[in-house]
């Protein structure tokens, strides 16, 4: 409380009179305030729309990725069944049943030769033994434990190597072979067979299916990343000058589809902030006047920690999506201030090498496309979005960033 002189009549007089106000309300003052409130509400609405749009895009993208993954799984499943079917028609070279057996009626000779060379498929009784040995764990008649099919055998039976386009098998023949092998019957229709054959032509082969490729796929990789960065404060608009990112990333593959990545990326961030979005430490605005605009240029280390999901695999490329958190370590901060009125003596700027750390300050989202350029090298293009979770920097700003990173990746092992 004030240490005023309680006996000072002048003070007592003014204190008393200050409470005897009788001020009439003026609507024009409210209208002036209302305009400002409308402007703020418009900004809020625009920001909300942007967030909703981003959420819708994310959900749509996730749904698309999910359905694409499901389709891919179905394709892989069909390929496997097709491969097994092909194996029945063309068993591996080390199969001991090479006798031509009893032919099924209606089986053309040309196709028979190809089949009979590898297995006695046409003879059901003999077939059971050979099929048991060639198809793992299938036949209930033969109790022998079935040797697992060697991967080399499967390679031998890779769909592309069997020219079943020329194989005049009838549907009936196919169903018979499948039934005898003990595999759950595949009701192959002509159209389905043709479709499976067409799919083989598109280079999605067994040797490149996810399950088989995992054994030979790289476990980790390092990458050199670089790309432009557009940053802003308060929302995804009003960008200033573009900055730049350059650094390294390390990826560890959990399996063919998932990977964890971490990185250290030096970022040159440039942004502009309105007065109310920029909050330096308490007491800085000693003169009581807040800057109307602040321009920031910061050097920071962006440490992303992401989970990557590869949702579409092609022959030598793949599509992926990443999400995670980024931590920022501020290396240097340089701010320039502008004021509504030209006041001498006001701070025009502030800069320092702060070194402050902001752990998990931003959520990170990206999608990307990776292309293998050699056995161990690949290139990625990855647009990204960073959304603030916490305020960062000396100005305590909510920093949004968008950009695109291009990286050269080397498979380690």
């Amino acid at each position: 409380m004030s240490d005023s002189n309680q006996n000072d009549p002048l003070e007592k007089f003014f204190q008393k009179k200050a409470g005897e106000y009788n001020i009439s309300y003026q609507e024009k003052d409210w209208r002036s305030l209302e305009k400002r409130l409308d402007a703020v509400d418009t900004q809020h609405a625009a920001r909300r729309k942007r967030y909703i749009a981003a959420a819708v895009i994310l959900i749509a993208f996730s749904a698309m990725a999910y359905f694409t993954y499901q389709n891919q799984q179905q394709i892989d499943s069909l390929n496997k069944q097709l491969a097994q079917t092909e194996e029945l028609s063309n068993p591996p070279a080390n199969n001991h049943n090479r006798e031509t057996g009893q032919k099924e009626p209606g089986t053309p000779k040309k196709g028979e030769e190809q089949l009979d060379e590898s297995s006695n498929i046409s003879s059901p009784n003999d077939q059971k033994v050979s099929v048991t040995e060639s198809i793992p764990g299938q036949n209930t008649v033969n109790k022998k434990s079935s040797p697992s099919v060697e991967r080399s055998a499967l390679d031998h039976l890779a769909v592309n190597s069997v020219d079943c386009l020329n194989c005049p098998l009838t549907d009936y023949h196919m169903r018979f072979m499948v039934d005898q092998s003990g595999i759950a019957p595949v009701q192959l229709q002509k159209s389905a067979r043709k479709e499976a054959t067409e799919k083989r032509k598109t280079d999605i082969t067994l040797s490149q299916s996810p399950d088989l490729a995992t054994d030979d796929g790289p476990r980790a990789s390092i990458g050199l990343v670089a790309g432009p960065d557009l940053s802003t404060v308060g929302g995804l608009s009003n960008f200033y000058d573009p900055g730049f990112k350059i650094g390294f990333t390390f990826d560890y593959n959990i399996n063919e589809n998932f990977a964890i990545s971490v990185g250290a990326i030096r970022s040159n961030v440039r942004y502009t902030a309105e007065g109310q979005e920029y909050t330096p430490p308490k007491g800085y605005w000693d003169y009581g006047i807040q800057a109307s605009q602040a321009y920031g240029q910061c050097i920071l280390i962006d440490i992303p920690l992401n989970l990557t999901y590869r949702f579409m695999h092609f022959d030598h490329s793949r599509l992926y999506a990443s999400a995670g958190m980024s931590s920022y370590i501020m290396i240097s901060e340089d701010y320039q201030f502008q004021y509504a009125t030209n006041q001498p003596g006001l701070p025009r700027g502030w800069k320092a090498e702060t070194g402050t750390k902001h752990y998990f300050s931003n959520a990170s989202f990206s999608v990307g496309y990776e292309v293998d350029i050699s056995r161990n090298l690949s290139i990625r293009a990855e647009p990204f979005l960073r959304i603030p979770v916490k305020e960062v920097g000396w100005g305590n700003v909510n920093l949004f960033s968008v950009g695109s990173l291009v990286s050269l990746n080397y498979q380690l092992y």
Partner: protein
């Protein structure tokens, strides 16, 4: 009832915002008129203060009285405004003399609120601000010094001169 209004303000309902504004308009103007040089300037300061109120309404603790919170925002806004304008007006400091402070109770009691405001507005911004903060709003000299970025001695000196000037104005106009 005010809690319902504040609840509406938190949802950015214009109706609630206007209701709150109208309810505390006179109170707010009674503060800003003392810090401003004119009624328009006082309205501008008041609107700046209410913008801060509506922007930060979610930070307000509804279990505490609203008026002191509002008052603090208005006073801080007035000081910010003072800092914006003080350099322009530094040359306008007028010293009304070194008269002794005397009591003229009979004359003083007849003076209206509006006349008081006019007298206070005749002071220079520096004197007026220190006088308001100390005499009316109850801040200590150390607090005033921190808020205005001046020395404690300067605050005391400005208060003394403000009182002298007000005394002179009183004598000129009413005595």
């Amino acid at each position: 009832m005010i809690k319902e209004t504040i609840k509406g303000c938190r949802k950015r309902q214009r109706k609630s915002q206007k209701k709150l504004y109208k309810r505390f308009y006179a109170y707010g103007m009674s503060i800003t008129l003392r810090y401003a040089e004119s009624r328009d300037e006082a309205a501008e300061i008041l609107n700046d203060a209410f913008m801060k109120v509506f922007t930060n309404i979610k930070k307000y603790d509804t279990d505490r009285p609203f008026k002191p919170w509002l008052r603090q925002i208005i006073v801080n806004t007035a000081i910010n405004h003072y800092h914006k304008t003080k350099d322009h007006l530094m040359v306008d400091q007028i010293d009304f003399g070194d008269n002794e402070i005397r009591s003229e109770e009979e004359i003083l009691s007849g003076i209206t609120y509006d006349e008081i405001i006019e007298m206070v507005q005749e002071l220079t911004p520096a004197y007026r601000t220190v006088f308001n903060l100390y005499v009316i709003d109850g801040f200590k000299h150390r607090e005033i010094a921190d808020m205005l970025g001046i020395a404690v001695g300067t605050s005391k000196s400005n208060l003394s001169k403000a009182k002298q000037n007000l005394q002179s104005i009183l004598e000129k106009k009413f005595i």
